[in-house]
């Protein structure tokens, strides 16, 4: 047989191994498969490509589309990615390892997860973080399950209608099959309504509520009174956060939230058509045993040296099976490393500047767009880097014009608004060019 670069066995190797096993062909090793199921012919797949052909194939696909400057957020933010990060995350010792089951030869992974947990705790102000879940939407769904698990005997979770559409969608999906009842908190003037929350609490069955920190309209929510109202009913407050913004905004701990979740993508992870991203989850210590996913803890080895291990594993599926807090096994570990390296590089001052620049750019764009006369304001509410406007022109034509000029902007929302976002990647000149294209 002709060699293939990923298969090291030669024809002679195979013959010797078959002899040792005591069979004559590799198909003999499938003697337990009913013959009708064993495929002997080639599958209907393309001919094998050389590495050069594979490269060319993908480069042609990549060239099919215009390269657009992104002025949309809506849950995926185009922040700058420092060059160091992909160098670190592509180190094969990190990239080609699996879950740190053998802690003695996985201290690299375990240490960065411990650092990641610390950074998530410091951004949210909460006590305990897990080692990641898939994305922000699934983190919110897991938080919904946590509320019910912590409450015992209560089965309703409240969702703010101002949460991102994809977060609402995924939480609804999980709730439907888990048999958890959802009820909704209205948004008034673009903000989650405390009065609506209080009205919903009267049912007496509420285990918790999920509300955004920065909501689907880009508005920074004022959660005064939320935790108090929920805690009075023995219900938990879950905050859905943009972790980049948490470097400057009032923290979940300062709002007295019990659980904070969100998507770590805004911490320097490339857009990459929606993934891989990383969901984060943090909570107060009282709820630690209900937190899903892996958790890394510090201990000492037999010589007394500082060492790190996966801990509190009795919560997990490989031990508790159907009684586990969650079914999660693989998570987004490498993306947690991505976030950890990002926050190490940025530090408190870098994170302040990212927010200052994004916010200043967004407010500049907001004013410039209103000056065109083609939009009018929707809400009179504070925003950071993202906002919506009401379009006074044909949105499809507007988007086409922007696309032709090299921009992805003015995302149409369910409500008929258009949404814009500015990050530190875009300067005043680029914003002016965007406005000119409108």
């Amino acid at each position: 047989m002709a060699g293939f670069c990923y298969f090291p066995q030669t024809g002679e190797d195979i013959r010797q191994m078959l002899d040792r096993i005591g069979v004559t062909s590799m198909d003999d090793l499938y003697c337990d498969v009913p013959p009708e199921f064993l495929h002997k012919e080639e599958l209907n797949l393309p001919d094998a490509m050389s590495e050069q052909q594979v490269r060319h194939f993908f480069e042609s696909l990549a060239a099919m589309d215009p390269k657009l400057k992104v002025f949309v957020g809506a849950g995926a933010y185009d922040h700058y990615v420092p060059a160091v990060i992909p160098y670190i995350t592509s180190r094969s010792e990190f990239l080609t390892a699996y879950t740190p089951y053998q802690c003695e030869i996985s201290q690299g992974t375990l240490r960065y997860i411990f650092e990641y947990q610390t950074m998530i705790c410091n951004l949210t102000g909460l006590d305990v973080s897990n080692a990641s879940v898939y994305d922000g939407s699934t983190a919110a769904a897991e938080a919904m399950r946590m509320c019910v698990a912590c409450a015992r005997r209560k089965n309703t979770v409240l969702l703010s209608k101002a949460l991102l559409p994809q977060v609402l969608g995924v939480v609804k999906t999980y709730a439907k099959y888990a048999g958890i009842r959802l009820a909704f908190i209205e948004a008034e003037g673009g903000r989650t309504s405390l009065a609506s929350l209080k009205a919903q609490l009267e049912s007496g069955d509420v285990a918790g509520a999920i509300v955004p920190s920065v909501n689907r309209y880009g508005i920074v929510e004022d959660l005064t009174g939320f935790a108090e109202a929920l805690h009075a009913c023995d219900a938990l407050l879950v905050q859905y956060c943009d972790p980049s913004a948490l470097a400057v905004l009032k923290t979940p701990a300062e709002w007295d939230a019990d659980i904070a979740v969100g998507d770590g993508q805004s911490l320097g992870i490339p857009l990459c058509y929606g993934g891989p991203y990383v969901g984060f989850m943090a909570c107060k210590k009282a709820y630690m045993r209900k937190l899903p996913g892996r958790i890394v803890g510090q201990t000492v080895d037999a010589q007394g040296r500082r060492a790190f291990v996966l801990t509190l594993q009795a919560r997990e599926q490989h031990i508790r099976r159907e009684k586990a807090t969650s079914n999660i096994c693989s998570n987004e570990s490498l993306m947690a490393l991505w976030v950890t390296v990002y926050l190490s590089l940025m530090g408190p001052e870098g994170m302040r500047q990212v927010n200052a620049k994004s916010s200043a750019g967004a407010h500049y764009l907001y004013e410039k767009l209103l000056e065109t006369g083609k939009f009018e304001p929707v809400f009179d509410a504070p925003f950071l880097k993202e906002f919506v406007l009401k379009p006074l022109c044909n949105v499809n034509e507007l988007q086409q014009r922007l696309c032709d000029a090299g921009f992805f902007a003015a995302l149409k929302t369910e409500e008929g608004y258009v949404s814009f976002c500015v990050t530190e990647k875009h300067n005043r000149a680029e914003i002016d060019a965007l406005v000119a294209a409108i």
Binding site: R152, R289, L312, Q313, A314, I319, R320, K323
Partner: protein
């Protein structure tokens, strides 16, 4: 060999019961703590009703988790809060450290439990 203490009643899920008047103290047997290994956490119940055979809590070790089943029906009137900070007490002295105290609703149920001799035979199997 696991120790079996005389004078206690035992369930097939390895809880022991010590009856004092209208109350029963519930713990786990030496056999159960040996099976678990180093216990790292005891999940204690609320002060609420329990049914015989119903889960009332759980034990965790590094590599295992085991539910606790109530050997009796009644109301949990007290929990051994020492176990929250020192779960190892169950390893060190399983018969000296109870987990919950239950006010018995149906003392006749006690007849279903094993005495020390029967339990010793049960775990020898």
């Amino acid at each position: 060999m696991s120790k079996v203490q005389e004078g206690l009643l035992y369930s097939e899920s390895h809880e022991w019961v010590r009856v004092e008047g209208p109350n029963a103290f519930v713990g786990i047997s030496d056999f159960a703590q040996e099976e678990m290994g180093d216990i790292t956490y005891v999940d204690l119940p609320d002060l609420d009703n329990v049914l015989k055979g119903e889960e009332f809590g759980a034990l965790e070790s590094v590599k295992a988790s085991s539910d606790l089943y109530s050997p009796v029906t009644g109301t949990v009137s007290e929990r051994n809060l020492d176990l929250e900070d020192a779960p190892e007490l169950l390893n060190e002295d399983p018969y000296g450290n109870w987990i919950i105290r239950v006010h018995l609703a149906n003392p006749a149920e006690l007849d279903d439990l094993m005495d020390a001799e029967a339990y010793a035979q049960f775990i020898a199997k």
